[in-house]
Symmetry: C2
């Protein structure tokens, strides 16, 4: 089996292992936004936002379109959202399992 797929997959997960970047992707879920718009919706310095955007663009996760002075970012492949939604189901199921276990312990 070719192990390069694991390295590629790990590489993209490194990009996704930052909550600010996930928040950016979430803000772009329904369509493109300019850096300015993103900046006003998030609580991070502009330079840091720009670093995150640049990283995701380099990796082909986001794409850009310039309109005058503004640069609009959007999600390159909507399947990313699909994968995220499934992963969040996993997280929510984990939460509810922990909750059940907690109740069981309390009632014992």
């Amino acid at each position: 089996m070719d192990k390069r797929i694991f390295e590629m997959h790990a590489g993209i997960c490194t990009i996704f292992s930052n909550s600010k970047r996930l928040e950016i992707i979430d803000l772009l879920r329904d369509g493109e936004k300019s850096v300015n718009e993103l900046s006003s919706l998030m609580e991070i310095p502009q330079a840091n936002l720009s670093q995150h955007l640049s990283l995701m663009r380099q990796r082909g996760i986001l794409e850009t379109r310039r309109d005058g002075v503004n640069i609009y970012y959007s999600i390159a492949n909507p399947k990313v959202i699909k994968a995220f939604d499934i992963m969040r189901e996993v997280l929510l199921e984990q939460l509810s399992m922990h909750e059940k276990m907690f109740k069981k312990i309390k009632s014992a």
Copy 2:
């Protein structure tokens, strides 16, 4: 919007941002395997394998079952595989896009 979901999601992506761990998950795709079996299928020291397994177990990604001297690991939630498969489609589409662009450049 509650930003804790982004932190949880980022946390699980940190776990997935290592190619050895992804390889382990892939080896468990069709069912449980003992540490020994995993160890013979992978090219890493046993202690390191154990660290990866322990981490994924703590995070609820893997579960264990003991049978005598052996400990069998398995994937806790098969939806993880579903999400992985979609993410790999994304990666393959990225690859084929780069290839098309390369051919375009060569033919120009």
